[in-house]
Amino acid sequence: MDETETSSERKSLWQYANPRKFMDLTATMLPWVWALAVGLTALGLVWGFFFTGDDFRMGSTVKIIYIHVPSALMAINGYILMFLASLVWLIRRHHVSALVARAAAPVGLVMTLIGLATGAIWGQPMWGTWWAWDPRLTAFLILCLFYLGYIALWSALSDPDLAADLTSILAIVGSVFAFLSRYATQFWNQGLHQGTSVPVATGGRSIDDVFFIPLAISMVGFFFLFLALVLTRARTEVRARRLSVLRARQAA
């Protein structure tokens, strides 16, 4: 990328669509993001596990909330990130955004699996069952399938631009159907899952400060953990792309 072109775009967010700028920025950011991720997640979890009392009804199983809620949150945010990055790719065709979408998928899948697993471990003593076909649980299972299909489509195509196009279309159509599925499952079955503990829209909350403060720290920690993982993976993708270009040039 030559100097004249970058200087005209200097004020805009889009300058980070330039892979070199993206790599430079993330190289300086990444140690801080990782430090925040590890520090805040550790603080939130240690505080939550060892320095809060047991809930009077749920006993010590309440502590699983410090992993369950943040991972579920990031599972959904990961999908939103994929959706937005896919839109950016389809509209502006910046390769970095396609690679970020690709990098986010496995992280989101792992977060979804953590959410499902911790939910099952909590549900066994509390609801008396590992699994229930509750709308929220079902929606998460469908989310898990979406992630699997998305990753499978990426890995099935060898042409990176075609793969980016098709997976972007899938992510956008998938998002529409994710909403439909959410309401369809609510129509289909009554819920066992309690309402959200931290409703952002209303600003209220249904849990006490004692539990909320470590939970909030843990949520922020998971956010940085997600960001750190996605950025690290995206950097690897950019490098892998450069390598394949170099190889192709050498072979030519």
Binding site: L145, L153, A156, L162, D165, V173, F177, A184, F187, W188
Partner: protein, 217 residues
């Protein structure tokens, strides 16, 4: 467009592949169910609406990869893309798929319902639910088939991609059949199935055409 529709219908019926195969698969699923869950009428009647819907969905899924695969392999898809807008092509292909699977399955399902002791009053809602709900299956499926068109042996991938998209349709359709079989009013889920079908009809040709365009590039 009409010529294309007739061509697809003729191909489906004559080549002996898609048309008979889906219906035969549906028959197999329904016939095997009593062997798996036992012949007791009460048990079979309880699961009949769900099993019939599941069988219809799987039969539709089985025939999806034929929508584009053959035309892609012999290059006629590229030829067609020169003449017909891709959105229209996808619409016609999905419509042909629905006429040869969804509509036929809807006609066959009440008959096979007898094998599963589907209650008398349940046949009409089952038929209505299928005839109104299955267009969504064909149009979503045609979109999925457009996504995997360039991939060798994309069939399994196709089912993984399409499966989550089928969930709302299956929920609503099976709800129509279940309520109908129990003699309850089924107008709300039927209206919602119709909404899903119309939505798929309106959106999927564009999404699928975008995917085809990328693959043909």
């Amino acid at each position: 467009m009409i010529a294309l529709l007739l061509r697809d219908l003729r191909l489906a019926i004559r080549s002996g592949g898609g048309f008979g195969l889906g219906l035969a698969f549906f028959l197999v699923v329904i016939v095997l169910t009593p062997f798996a869950v036992g012949p007791a009428p009460a048990g079979l009647a309880a699961i009949a609406p769900g099993v019939l819907w599941l069988g219809a969905l799987l039969a539709a899924l089985l025939t999806l990869d034929r929508i584009f695969a053959l035309d892609w392999e012999d290059g006629s898809l590229e030829q067609l893309a020169l003449v017909v807008p891709l959105e229209g092509l996808l619409f016609v292909k999905a419509l042909a798929h629905w006429l040869t699977t969804g509509a036929m399955l809807a006609l066959l399902a009440p008959v096979l319902g007898i094998l599963l002791y589907l209650p008398q009053g349940g046949a009409l809602p089952l038929f209505l639910g299928l005839i109104i709900g299955t267009p969504a299956l064909s149009f979503i499926g045609a979109f999925g088939a457009a996504l995997v068109v360039g991939i060798k042996r994309g069939g399994l991938l196709l089912s993984l991609l399409v499966l989550p998209l089928y969930v709302p349709t299956l929920i609503m359709g099976a709800e129509v059949a279940r309520r109908g079989a129990q003699g309850m009013p089924y107008d709300v889920p039927l209206a919602l199935s119709a909404a899903l079908s119309l939505f798929a009809l309106a959106i999927m040709p564009f999404a699928g055409a975008a995917a085809l365009r990328a693959s043909l590039r």
